[in-house]
Symmetry: C2
Subunit: 294 residues, 2 copies
Amino acid sequence: MSATLIDGKTVAAGLRAEVAARVTAFHAKTGRRPGLTVVLVGSDPASEVYVRNKGIQTREAGMRSDEIKLPETTTQAELLAVVQTLNADAAVDGILVQMPLPGQIDTQAIIAAIDPAKDVDGLHPVNAGRLAQGIDALVPCTPLGCMILLDKAGVAVAGANALVIGRSILVGRPVASLLLAANATVTVAHSKSRDLPALCGQADIVIAAVGRPEMVRGEWLKPGAAVIDVGINRVPKEDGKTRLVGDVHFASAVETAGVITPVPGGVGPMTIACLLQNTLTAACFRDGIDPKSL
Amino acid sequence: MSATLIDGKTVAAGLRAEVAARVTAFHAKTGRRPGLTVVLVGSDPASEVYVRNKGIQTREAGMRSDEIKLPETTTQAELLAVVQTLNADAAVDGILVQMPLPGQIDTQAIIAAIDPAKDVDGLHPVNAGRLAQGIDALVPCTPLGCMILLDKAGVAVAGANALVIGRSILVGRPVASLLLAANATVTVAHSKSRDLPALCGQADIVIAAVGRPEMVRGEWLKPGAAVIDVGINRVPKEDGKTRLVGDVHFASAVETAGVITPVPGGVGPMTIACLLQNTLTAACFRDGIDPKSL
């Protein structure tokens, strides 16, 4: 038996096209285009690539895209002032401060300073709280992407036993809230959990978001399980180069799972597509429009 | 085999005494006493009893206690104005708006209007989010009481498999966050969950907070499990009177569990004691004092 692959690139392309169509509807209704501003502090090459891709995809979806590049030496006060300017700018629907930030900056204080209504990363405590309480919220992009992939793969979430491995603020905890809201029975496991193989063996859905290369083995899985692999780990190859692997040992898991995301090409491509969707959602909330009406 | 009972009355009395001692230390340090203001709208008899008890216990702990009683016909705008006055009053550390509120009032809007720093019920989305993100927060009283009971009963939470039955904003979701923060492997089950008996059978800790009389049966439990029963259900007796039962079938559970809370006399008495603790915690945060230093 071999699992069906969930093609994140295709799903993400479909989502971007859907967002673009809804942006057109938003523009027709309001006369304006949703706008996303990304703030990049310093010149980390990976972050620069990521910010550039966000800009391209935002514009392709018909939205306004701005980038603010600040030097590595930017102070906390300077970055706070930038955030406050963006909070006050009516044309800005989404503010994304690219992580990681330099050491002199208190990341949590910056996140808390962003207007929750413009927090398209979904990291502000107000959004985390609204998500935890089951109220309309801006939800972190990667967990949102996981849920969309499950949906597109036709996985029945309601009533399913879902195991989330990892309890990060960025992925594990919010995806657990989303699964719970979708009526799954949700278990959150982590480094202190005993007998992870047994927990996996009972799960209809496994979300691996732990950051340990190939930790989850195919032998652990319940036959037919849906496996969403959020991990992106770079490991050495025999030839001295490196390759990307997930938190799931793909070669064994593909034999047991029913559906599975590859790494790369699974959850990864969903993140920016969900950021675009969040920007449109934020614009709708700000203009008092039901996002589902577009 | 018969489980050890966890005596909530005794634990709550101990906690109240501990809070009173820390209030004395707070007063010595700051020259002021923490203050709790309870707002009661209408004249529901059960709420009136509860508010009166809160007042008595607050004063016994050495704190300032105020009650604001408003008529059943109070409008949303009037209640919001009261909340805003209390937000602005420097002597008020804790604001508790007694639930349930009359139908003309939007409960969620009232909760969102309370200064999160004074939200001693822990229901504001900011506190829910901070709890979900593992940041210092004001935590709802009943979940806090459950954790204290587990601690006082000597239950090892780290690494344990904990099952939370029920996913309410008041109990299920926050207690799941607290258990996760204490390094349990946490499963949240609810009305859509399949095979609750099997889930119970794997749990070292069961928190029943579902509101269904005697639903959880002793035969379901893992021998030696710690059982915290949050349910308070009034059921008819044969003589036409009523009695209080929990969500756990006590007579069978006591045979299998290792430790168990009775109903009444288990979680119930903890709620006000935890409210007092939250008021002191709020006062400490507001004055920049580490609550653990008292």
